[in-house]
Structures are given as structure tokens and as C-alpha cells.
Amino acid sequence: MNFEFLGDNFMSLTVTGLTQGAIYALVALGYTLVYGVLRLINFAHSEVFMIGTFVTTIVWAGLGFGVGASAPGTFGVLGLIALAIVAAGAASGGTALIVERVAYRPLRKRNAPSLIFLISAIGASVALFELVGAITDRQPRGMPSLVQPKVQFTIFGADITNLQIGIILSALAMLAGLDIFINRTRLGRGVRAVAQNPDVAALMGVNKDRVIMLIFVLGGMMAGAASVLYDIKVGLTTYSVGFLIGIKAFTAAVLGGIGNLRGALLGGLLLGVVENYGAGVFGNEWMDVVAFVMLVVVLLFRPTGLLGESLGRARA
């Protein structure tokens, strides 16, 4: 154990953790939205994220920015990122929608028990995973490093890079946008109505199927955006990339209180930070152990997660 290392690098571990956590949080939103409305864990969401990571590289390569290409100027890079967010958002959102149509809606129309949904979810996940695995020959796919991490400023001895700032701020901006959409708009109110009481929502004139499509698309788009940030940060993707990120994001959602949008943010950031501290103290190979031990401990004391559920029945 190396507490000295943790002490010496506390700030920089924190910032690295927040960066990773921001990506968890964006992916966690998809789990939390779907669970909040349907009480369903959409296991295929990890693959929705994975699709986004590939579409990002494809779009960049298509524009002449394949592996090894040198980055264009600042505006060029921002343009490429914006384009990738739109494309990956559309692809991931579209994939999520297809999963909903193919794997869940037919079951819903037949009032299937929730265990069947779970099996269908796992099936959809495996199908997407194997499909992309087959298409890519199970080879990783690289991409150019568009953003060279550059130290912008230093706080308490920690170097903060433009990349870290960019990732954290874009994740926060998207989360804030979603939060406003759900809490302040008419359509968002419809989503909350279906989450709280689907029958009464129908009595208010809310089209439940439309709301369900909407949450899958929204969750998918957030995962798509996260996939772009991930690509920029890691510079490499592969068909199995969704597995660990998916589990971590799901953990983040549960940690914050599944069904709660702000809980996803809190859970994501906390998970990112704590697992980084854990890696600092016990070594990298213990990172995931620390993450899940924290989940278990939190659930022991707060079974509904840190913030509880808010989209659904519970408190306002």
C-alpha cells in the first residue's frame, strides 16, 4: 500500500478520476433513464456506447483523418469533434432505438415478465457485440491523436490539461442540458409522468411509446457523445470496449441512485475519483476491486443509492 503516493499526487489523481468519471456519468444516463421509466436494465447500452466509438473513427477516417494523420488547427479539431458528436450521437441513439424496437417493445406488448426482458437485453447485447466483432475481425481500431494534451494550469501541484478540462466541461454541459430538458420542458414532464405512473400518464394524453423511444434515443445520444470523448482520450477502440465501461457506468448509476439523473453525475464522478485513488494506493490492478467494494459499501448503508430515485415514484 502506498498512501504516500496518494498524498503526493492527490490533486492529479482527482482530476484524472473526474475525467474518467465524466465519461462514466454520460454513459450512466442511458441506464438511469431507461430504468427510471421502464424498471429495466438495458444491458445492450454498453454496446450502444461501443458503436459510437467506431462511428467516430469512421467519420474521422472518412474525412482524411485516419491513424497517423496529423491534427488540423484548433478550429479544424473542434469541427471534427463536433461532427463526431453528431454522428456518434445519431448512430448510438439509432442503435438504442433499434434495440428498443426489436428486443423490448414486442415483449412489452405481450406483458412479458421482467426476467424475459433481462434475457432479451443480454441477447441484444451479445448480438451487437458479436456483430461488430465479426465486422472488425476483432481487431482494435486506431485513430489520430487530435488533441495533444497540453498543460493549461497547475493547481496544488497537479497539471491540468486542455483535454481534461474539455472532457469534464463537455460532459457537464450535456448533463445540464438533459437535466433542463427533463425538468423544465413539456416533453420532459411527459417522461417523468410515465416514470411515475404510466397509466395516469396515458390519461393525460401522453403517448407512452413515444416517451420510451425518446428516452432510448436520449440515452443513446449521451452514450454517443461519451464515446467521442473516450476516443479522444484513449485513441483506440475495439469491439469489446463497451464491456468494462458499461459495467462501470451501470455501477455509477446505481451508486448515485438509479433512475436519478443527477445521481448518475454524482455516481460517475465519485466512481472515477475513488477508483483512481484506489489505483494510487493499491496499484492499478486493484482499481476495479476498489470501485466495486465502494459500490457494495454504499448500498449497504443506502440501498437506493446516494441520491435515491427521482424520475420515478420516490421524492420530488
Partner: protein, 236 residues
């Protein structure tokens, strides 16, 4: 006829709860539906609003066959229900709950007018405007459910036990309000345990017994009907 049920059956799984009921509600009427627990009153309401699929038979509303229409589209056509158990959205404020009632409408100025009307009908709701629906008392939730059902400007208002859980004074008040709403032009179909009040306020009424309509007549007729008196009015 604004609403017409023609031999409607509804089942829960294999158990049939309505064995072919027929009833009509004319424009401008208050029609009451009374019956013992489990007779099928709420099931009838759910069939009309589209929450329960109809087995056999037809439901016609405002000239159209709506038997197979989705529940949310019936709201657009002018059917609004205050459900049994009130169905308040617990995590939304009183105001948001009312806004949900106007979900299908677009014109902000009209919605604001109707919000004002709901607050005029139920001043208590105005005082609690920002309170979460789930923290209201039972009676306050009942007012909110009725107020919310009015927010869609329905042609037909379905009220499932609007007086449930209200103090005696408030029961008088809620029936007064129902009559007032009706006089302002809304047709009302009313399910009630409180048969005395319901029959004395309704133009016409039906008596439901284990999924069948066994009697119908004007409110006053049924109030004086010995069998009805015996079974539902609690007088020997």
C-alpha cells in the same frame, strides 16, 4: 349521444369483469354509475378512457367508434378521467400535476386561463402550488385529481369516486363543484359509493351489479326505488 357503450365486455386475464354492459351519456348530462364493491364501476371507466381493452362490444364517442383507440388519443378527442385512487404524480408539484392535465394542449394563454379556473374552484391548491403532489393530504389530492382532469377541457369528464376520503363538508362542496362544472358545459359520468349524493345530483343513473347493469332511471326515480334504497342508500 355523446357516449354510448354497446354490450361491452372487459376481462382481466380469464376472468370477465363486465359481461356486456350498455349505457349512454347525453351531451350536458350528469350520469351516475353506482354499485357495490367489485361490481365493475372502475372497470367501466377504464374501458371508456382506454386503459383496459374491450373484449366484445363497441364504445362510441361523439359520433366515432373509439373501441380500439389508444388512451392518449381519446384525451385529444375530449375524454378525461380522474382515476380511482387519484393517480397524482407524487414527484411533481401541484402546478406541474395541473400542467400535465393540459399536456395535449398548445395554447399557453388558454392553459393559464384554465389554471386560474382550477385555482378558483380549489383555492387550497393555489396555496399548495409548489408542494409535491405526493405530500398532499388525501382530500387535497382528490381536489387536484379533479382539477387536473378539467385541464384538458374535456367534453366528457369521468370521475371515479371523487368524494372518496373527503370530510362530510368537503363532500358537499365537491358535488357542488361537479354540478357547477356541468353547468359550465362539461358532460359528467360519475362513479360513486356515496349513492345518496350521486343520485340526488345526477340527471340519470345506472346500477351495476357484478358486471351487469340491473337498473337505470332518473336520479330521483332511483333515489325512491325500494331495492336501491335497500342496497345502496343504507336505509332500512
Amino acid at each position: 349521444m355523446l357516449l354510448e357503450l354497446d354490450n361491452v365486455t372487459v376481462a382481466y386475464g380469464r376472468i370477465e369483469a363486465l359481461h356486456g354492459i350498455s349505457l349512454t351519456v347525453g351531451e350536458g348530462e350528469i350520469v351516475a354509475l353506482i354499485g357495490a364493491n367489485g361490481a365493475g364501476k372502475s372497470t367501466t371507466m377504464r374501458a371508456i378512457s382506454g386503459l383496459r381493452p374491450v373484449g366484445k362490444g363497441k364504445i362510441r364517442f361523439d359520433g366515432d367508434d373509439i373501441t380500439k383507440m389508444r388512451a392518449d388519443l381519446r384525451v385529444v378527442r375530449g375524454v378525461s378521467q380522474s382515476p380511482e385512487g387519484r393517480g397524482i404524480f407524487p414527484g411533481m408539484t401541484v402546478r406541474e400535476n395541473l400542467e400535465m392535465g393540459a399536456y395535449t394542449r398548445k395554447l399557453r394563454s388558454e392553459i393559464d386561463e384554465d389554471l386560474q379556473r382550477a385555482f378558483d374552484l380549489f383555492p387550497r391548491l393555489k396555496e399548495r402550488e409548489r408542494q409535491a403532489g405526493g405530500t398532499l393530504s388525501g382530500g387535497e389530492q382528490q381536489m387536484l385529481a379533479v382539477g387536473r382532469a378539467l385541464m384538458s377541457r374535456p367534453k366528457l369528464l369521468l370521475l371515479d369516486e371523487p368524494s372518496m376520503g373527503l370530510a362530510p363538508m368537503l363532500i358537499q362542496q365537491i358535488f357542488d363543484i361537479i354540478v357547477e362544472i356541468n353547468q359550465q358545459g362539461t358532460t359528467v359520468l360519475l362513479v360513486e359509493q356515496n349513492a345518496q349524493q350521486a343520485l340526488s345530483r345526477a340527471h340519470r343513473a345506472y346500477v351495476l351489479e357484478t358486471g351487469r347493469i340491473v337498473k337505470e332511471g332518473t336520479g330521483t326515480d332511483l333515489l325512491t326505488d325500494p331495492a336501491v334504497k335497500d342496497a345502496y342508500l343504507g336505509v332500512a
